[in-house]
């Protein structure tokens, strides 16, 4: 075996000689002062092979084998943290770890999820984490790979989703081959993404790596959940671990999330109990099914409707206190508002219409009391502006909402008088009928254009719903782009059935996040459905290949409105306000002339596909055929031509 390898190398050198490349005879290191640096990157040849492997002397008969590479230990850490998947597009700065995952780790837990772009790798990790409730790893090449991934890391950061980014890098400049290895190395790799990851480190020993890796893992899963990054130095990956070094895998020590202190809970409870129209607004409040149950309890004890801002699934849409569609009215009528992990508390209480001058005004009643519970109070970054506008809440609590709800509910229950309980009970009938009217009015709105072609987004949503509602399903795309029809019309009852959106509104999240989420659903034996926007899929169509390659069951139904629809409206507004050409808004905002054939694209990537489908009557059959494919364990795509929103 070793002989064969040796022969392989020998014949490689021979081939180089034949090709006219000088055979090196002197170790590169010894000559470093006198050898002039090559003026440009040379193709891999014997010189490079020598620089990489050291001198090959005719006398030295034993190949230089690495039996215990450092990257094996890195795989031990992935296993110790129960990391089931590592998404990656191959890159030389992590070739050691890549090889260890496949051979040393047996390519099982973690399994390599092969991607064709690093933004896909990170997007998959983002979607996966929101369903699996734990991070997977995303392995990226130094500089160029990380820069490709950075967009998706930014989305995940805004979305408070954990990702373990492992980035290859070669820190020791004297070990870099000339040319490409220099531009694919960074002195401080974390600097490229540091404003939107929670923690990064570039360890210089394996034990250092282990401890920083464990810390990173725990930080990513301590609210606010966030992406973290460990730089895996190439040398560290590839070098032999000295036999006398004893490496330890640090024990995981999960951190309990920050909960609100008792005096803050008391003040919040007093405000909510004093109110006659309390209101709950939740965005990324629930982190698990338990969080959903707690929000239901809080709503029920207070008789308070809930507006689900849907950063995650916070409130079952079947519950009569889930009144999101009434939000404009509820905000205006409430006399106490509690915001749970809101991205934007100011924007909940106030509004800024898109009219010239952008006048802002308070929408909530002037005397309404406002409570905010969010880990965001203790975690802000300065460069990117995701903090939103400053708002002085009456009670602001820097704590995790899900962790704080039990004590808030207990405090309310303890303080509540008999009369207050009766008042809440007396409100129930009215709240139930408001809910029933809301559902009826959403249903009536959905009926307008029911038979239209291109297909209305309400029809699309309901045709899908009719076919999945009796299965164990999860919606893995942002429903905002289709007028939130699923939220308004489907029965969401479980946390995992909805995962929110991009976080950073970075287009290109949709496809990879859906595939990542579908991967996690597959492990739980659930069917994942994505309503996939055309503009989004055009960013990273290669995601389809990963779905096909890994047999990821995902039903992708296109919301193909052939435009970047939000932008069409912006252009129209600009031209309208300037009293200019009323027709040119389509230039640069529409994806027509030619129209894209997404079914062809999908088929070209090995994904079952049908379309374009523009008649609503054809949906049912197409959906059931596609669903059969998905249930057999494969992805399927339907290109459906839809109305704008």
């Amino acid at each position: 075996m070793e002989d064969a390898k040796y022969l392989g190398r020998r014949s490689f050198i021979k081939a180089s000689v034949l090709a006219g490349i000088a055979t090196p005879t002197i170790p590169a290191l010894a000559k470093r002062e006198s050898t002039p640096a090559p003026s440009k990157v040379s193709p891999p040849g014997s010189a490079a092979a020598t620089a990489e492997n050291g001198a090959i002397s005719e006398a030295d008969d034993a190949p230089h084998l690495i039996h215990r590479p450092g990257s094996d230990f890195m795989v031990d850490l992935l296993k110790a943290t129960d990391t089931r998947y590592v998404s990656a597009m191959a890159g030389s700065t992590f070739r050691g770890l890549h090889e260890s995952i496949v051979n040393y780790g047996g390519n099982k837990a973690p399994e390599l999820i092969v991607c064709v772009h690093e933004e896909i790798s990170a997007g998959i990790a983002h979607g996966y984490a929101k369903v699996a409730n734990k991070p997977m790893a995303c392995l990226v090449h130094s500089t160029v790979g990380l820069l490709h991934a950075s967009m998706a890391i930014y989305n995940a950061w805004c979305d408070r989703a954990p990702i373990m980014v492992i980035a290859g890098n070669g820190l020791d400049a004297t070990k870099r081959r000339p040319g490409v290895e220099w531009v694919h190395s960074a002195q401080d790799l974390g600097a490229l993404v540091r404003e939107y990851i929670k923690y990064d480190d570039a360890p210089i020993s394996l034990q250092h790596y282990a401890e920083s890796y464990m810390r990173a893992h725990e930080l990513s899963m301590t609210p606010p959940y966030e992406p973290v990054m460990i730089v895996a130095d190439s040398e560290l990956q590839e070098e032999e671990v000295d036999a006398d070094i004893e490496l330890r895998i640090p024990a995981p020590a999960p951190v309990s999330p920050p909960a609100a202190p008792p005096e803050a809970i008391d003040r919040a409870a007093d405000i909510l109990l004093a109110a006659s129209a309390p209101l709950i607004v939740a965005d990324r409040a629930a982190r698990s099914q338990r969080g959903v149950e707690l929000i239901v309890q809080l709503a029920e004890i207070l008789g308070a409707p809930v507006i689900d801002r849907a950063g995650r699934l916070n409130m079952p849409t079947t519950h009569f206190l889930c009144q999101t569609s009434l939000q404009n009215t509820l905000i205006r009528e409430a006399d106490a508002i509690i915001g749970l992990e809101l991205t934007d508390l100011w924007g909940t209480i106030n509004s800024v219409p898109d009219v010239p001058g952008r006048p802002s005004r308070r929408v909530a009643r002037p005397e309404a009391k406002v409570i905010g519970i969010s880990t965001g109070y203790g975690y802000v970054r300065s460069v990117v502006q995701d903090a939103q506008r400053y708002f002085a809440a009456d009670v602001a609590i820097a704590a995790d909402a899900e962790a704080s709800l039990p004590s808030l509910i207990t405090a309310i229950d303890r303080k509540m008088s008999g009369a207050q309980r009766e008042a809440v009970a007396a409100k129930k009938a009215r709240l139930r009928s408001a809910y029933a009217e809301m559902r009826a009015s959403d249903a009536a709105a959905a009926a307008i254009g029911w038979d239209a072609s291109p297909i209305s987004t309400a029809r699309l949503s309901m045709e899908i719903w009719e076919q999945i509602k009796d299965l164990d399903w999860g919606l893995v795309s942002n429903h905002a782009f289709i007028s939130s029809w699923p939220q308004r019309l489907w029965d969401f009852t479980k946390y995992h059935q909805y995962i929110g959106g991009e976080g950073g509104y970075g287009v290109g999240y949709g496809a990879p996040a859906a595939v990542g989420a579908a991967l996690a659903h597959r492990d739980a034996d659930r069917i994942a459905v994505a309503i996939q926007c055309d503009g989004d899929l055009m960013m990273l169509p290669g995601t389809l290949w990963t779905a096909a390659h890994h047999r990821i069951p995902l039903l992708m139904v296109m919301h193909n409105n052939r435009s970047w629809h939000q932008e069409t409206m912006h252009l129209k507004r600009m031209a309208g306000r300037r009293d200019r050409d009323p027709h040119t808004w389509a230039v640069g905002t529409t994806i027509t002339d030619p129209e894209i054939d997404f079914a062809k694209i999908a088929k070209g990537m090995g994904v079952y596909a049908e379309g374009p489908i523009s008649k609503p009557a054809e949906l049912k059959g197409a959906l059931s055929r596609a669903l059969a494919v998905v249930r057999s364990g494969q992805p399927a795509l339907l290109d459906t031509l839809t109305q704008m929103r």
Binding site: A440, I448, G449, K572, V587, T590, M644
Partner: protein
Amino acid sequence: MRKLTFAVACCVFSAMLLRDPVEARLGAQSSDALTAPYETRDPGQRQYVRQGCYQCHGLVGQGSILSGPSLSPLRIDSDAFRRYVRNPKGAMPPYTKRVLADADLDSIEAFIRSLPPGRPYKTIPALARVGSSSDHAAEPQLSPSGRAIYQRHCAACHGESREGGIAPSLIGAGRKRDVAAIAALLANPPRGMPKLSPQPLTNKDVEAVARFVADVR
């Protein structure tokens, strides 16, 4: 005759020569070609598409909570329609006579009014299930609440939350008029507001919606 044909041919030919190649290329990305897949032969529909109305209100006027209200059915009269499109109050862009001639606006209005009304949701089984209260733990309602009547009959003009739109805001309307005065106003509406009582609103409905509007909260 032959001379004339020749002259015309020459003109066309030289016009082709004179045409700026850059301009010729830009012409390939014409706005009309971009929206063509969405147009029908109906001249009103074509204007509705080219003027971008459909981007916010949908090709069949179904609207969206994210872009613009439903225009099907159009609940305002021609005067109010024209006034609104020329000088909208919110996020809708204004359309002056310069960019949208009166005649074209009229054909757009005719198109909107020709749109088939939405089917009653109760005739669509999937939607009937969503809308039926029994499925979702809500108790049956004997008569619709003032809020529901407001949403159905007033919100299009006075805003979803009484904040105003093409008609004045009704927030705090109760300070100006009590329930009886609002009911009276409904029976005898001011100019620009349709007469909604005794049809389609019954006296009971009028009382309920007036109560809702008078609520100063």
